[in-house]
């Protein structure tokens, strides 16, 4: 049978971000894939070297709109690791609350998108409606819906007011019934089972070999979660369950994410009810020379930051590794042999976030000429000139 190339990207309704997947297909079956990243490179790490430690948290918050807590959280932990210091208890709890709120809204966002990719737009709209409620909660707590600006090296910027807590807990409780209904609609739907069960299976061995992270790994039976393995924030003081399933297919990845949302609600409620009194900020003055790492469990897996300081007020090197960097290669293991119809949902199942991932791009030219910015501008000017002549201006 003849082989055809089916492109997913660089612009494709499946993804909001520009990425290019080349699927080689025989009939409807995918036999090979090629991934091309690098459309989204913004030079965040380089920018970070020109910012002070206080400013870097704002910068990394803007790496990704969805992981806008994970990156500052990991970044501040890396800075604190240089000194090293422990932040006050109250700050730890507040950080945990914000991080879990982000997990809920990120998982709901994914659930909606997954529904959309399967043509189930009702789930899409319902999940995003529910997500609005969580964003409202975050607005009450931090003043912002998405970029919370709560983190700073040594603590948090804003305190949670005691009078807000009852209202927030009521609001969180009010979304649980809707979430239960959505969970039933997704987990018990026979047509969804037909579409997602046994599709895009990532075996436990492969998950370990690819170093898969987060829900992608946990759905394949790899019990890996920074919150348990190397507790930070208030996670070691709270009773919560790590959700692990065994099959590694798309359905299990969905189940892990949905059940994690319930755990996150539990964690937030516990933290709000048991918020310790005290300071929220260490008021750090100087960061000594040295290097530090910070890693936390983002909604998509482990986010890792490395910072080296030379004793001035800005990092000399800042390295960011987002979970998608580790999860994306598993796509090749899961998609080959599946059909095109399933290729999209399998890709979506790892919850890829490319703007988080893009740190550096290496192009292989394969004998073709590679243009740089200046040459492209010249080409464009030449073309405009040609058109102008042709139209008689």
């Amino acid at each position: 049978m003849g082989r055809t190339i089916v492109p997913i990207g660089p612009y494709h309704p499946l993804q909001e971000e520009p990425e290019f997947f080349t699927l080689t297909v025989e009939g409807e079956t995918v036999v090979d894939i090629d991934v091309q990243l690098g459309y989204n490179h913004r030079g965040i790490e380089k920018l970070s070297e020109s910012k002070s430690f206080d400013q870097t948290t704002f910068l990394v918050e803007r790496i990704c709109g969805i992981c806008s807590t994970s990156h500052p959280f990991a970044c501040t932990r890396a800075v604190e690791d240089i000194i090293p210091v422990e932040v006050p208890e109250r700050a730890k709890y507040i950080r945990t609350i914000i991080a879990e709120g982000e997990r809920i809204h990120s998982h709901l966002l994914w659930l909606g998108l997954a529904g959309h990719f399967l043509g189930y737009n009702t789930v899409y709209m319902w999940a995003w409606k529910l997500r609005e409620e969580i964003l409202d909660v975050m607005e009450i707590l931090s003043g912002n819906r998405n970029n919370y600006a709560m983190f700073k090296p040594g603590g948090v910027r804003r305190d949670i007011k005691t009078e807000d807590i009852t209202g927030v807990i009521e609001k969180i409780d009010s979304i649980v019934p809707t979430l239960e209904m959505l969970k039933k609609a997704v987990i018990d739907d026979p047509v969804l089972h037909a579409r997602t069960k046994g599709i895009g299976i990532l075996s436990k061995e492969e998950a370990i070999n690819f170093s898969a992270l987060g829900p992608t790994a946990r759905a394949s039976g790899v019990a890996r979660d920074v919150r348990k393995d190397s507790p930070y924030g208030a996670y070691d003081k709270i009773g919560w369950k790590m959700i692990v399933t065994q099959n590694g297919d798309v359905f299990d990845k969905a189940v892990v994410r949905i059940l994690e949302t319930f755990e996150s609600i539990k964690i937030i409620k516990y933290c709000l009810l048991n918020l310790p009194a005290g300071e929220i900020d260490l008021k750090l003055k100087n960061i000594p020379a040295g290097e530090g790492i910070g890693h936390i469990e983002a909604p998509r897996g482990e986010t890792f930051h490395y910072i080296r300081s030379d004793g001035t007020n800005r990092p000399v090197r800042h390295k960011v590794r987002a979970p998608t960097f580790m999860n994306l290669p598993t796509y090749k293991a899961t998609v080959v042999g599946e059909t095109i119809s399933d290729a999209t949902i399998i890709l979506a199942a790892i919850d890829p976030c490319y703007c988080c991932t893009e740190r550096m791009a290496v192009r292989t030219t394969k004998g073709k000429k590679l243009y740089n910015g200046e040459e492209l501008v010249k080409l464009s000017q030449a073309k405009t000139e040609k058109l102008r002549k042709k139209m008689g201006y």
Binding site: T4, I5, V6, P7, H12, P13, L14, E28, G115, H116, F117, L118, G119, Y120, N121, T122, V123, Y124, M125, W126, K129, D189, V191, L192, A194, R195, T339, I340, S341, D342, A343, T344
Partner: protein
């Protein structure tokens, strides 16, 4: 002469107006189900008028004539079907023997025109979508034809729409019997696939193959396809209403009754499309050839027994 009038006023204008309204009902109900506001009533018309004013791009290397003729062929066949249905339902009913079979054939042409257009555009995604549409046609035509057999058998082996209608005026709607109900259920699923709506929007799956066969269409060619789909959204339920439910009648309360039938069928189609994810093409074909064909065959046997 009277047929030309029917063709223009009933087949095209009236069907287009009601089709656009049906499309609005579909979009509005969908929006309300999804906590959205939904479009204003003129939105489907505005969409098409806007598309008619846009530039039509023809991809390089595409077969120009086929690419542009395909939507016109599809639209024409829908208009012809609608004309036949209106003449039988409101007019004299003075058509020819076997108009039911002609309608069945003409109802396949919109899908075939989409396949033609898809292949003519020479886009890999369009070819994929077109081949999926082809598989889907192979899937749903058998149960659909079997389901249509039931009214034929019921009305004493008549293949004239007018006679099927006359039978129902005397003996009550065909859905009233067990075999009729089963056949209607089968037919609704087949109509869902004919309209390429979720769960059978496999040929056009936006998030997989970027609206498939229509990916290269723009401007008025796309506008014609949109109009064709909107008109089908009324014509197909209308066809089901005629052969299973006794059709529409223009006098008094019966008009309301007839409207309820069509709106009810459109709403049913909308609800199905909003409570299901898209299935895979192999699953769809298995569904049509397995359970649906069996139910349809059972309905035919029951109809032969007189149930």
């Amino acid at each position: 002469m009277i047929y030309i009038l029917y063709f223009i006023f009933y087949g095209f204008l009236l069907t287009a107006i009601i089709g656009l309204l049906a499309s609005w009902v579909d979009r509005k109900v969908t929006a309300r189900v999804q906590y959205r506001v939904g479009p204003p009533i003129l939105q489907p018309l505005i969409d098409i008028v806007k598309l008619l004013g846009k530039e039509t791009l023809i991809p390089r290397g595409a077969s120009r004539a086929t690419f542009l003729m395909a939507p016109v062929a599809g639209l024409t066949s829908v208009i012809l079907v609608a004309t036949l249905l209106w003449i039988n339902n409101l007019g004299s009913g003075d058509t020819f023997l076997g108009d039911l079979i002609v309608v069945l054939y003409l109802l396949t042409i919109p899908s075939i025109s989409i396949i033609m257009g898809g292949f003519a555009s020479r886009n890999p995604l369009a070819s994929l979508g077109a081949s999926r549409e082809m598989k889907l046609i192979l899937g749903y035509e058998l149960p659909f034809v079997l389901a249509v057999f039931v009214p034929v058998i019921k009305s004493g082996f008549s293949i004239r729409l007018a006679e099927i209608l006359a039978y129902q005026t005397q003996n009550g709607a065909i859905t009233g019997s067990l075999s009729g109900t089963l056949a209607l259920v089968v037919a609704v699923f087949c109509v869902q696939a004919k309209l390429a709506l979720v769960p059978f929007d496999i040929p056009e799956a936006e998030t997989e193959i970027v609206s498939g066969p229509l990916v290269e269409y723009s401007g008025s060619a796309l506008g014609i396809y949109r109009l064709m789909k909107n008109m089908l959204l009324f014509t197909l339920p209308f066809f089901l209403a005629i052969i299973f439910m006794g059709g529409l009648r223009s006098d008094g309360l019966h008009l309301l009754n007839g409207l309820l039938k069509v709106v009810g069928l459109v709403a049913l189609i909308t609800v199905i499309r909003n409570t299901n994810p898209r299935v895979r093409i192999d699953q769809a074909v298995r569904f049509f050839w397995g359970p649906l064909t069996i139910i349809a065959a059972a309905a035919v046997l029951l109809a032969l027994k007189g149930l």
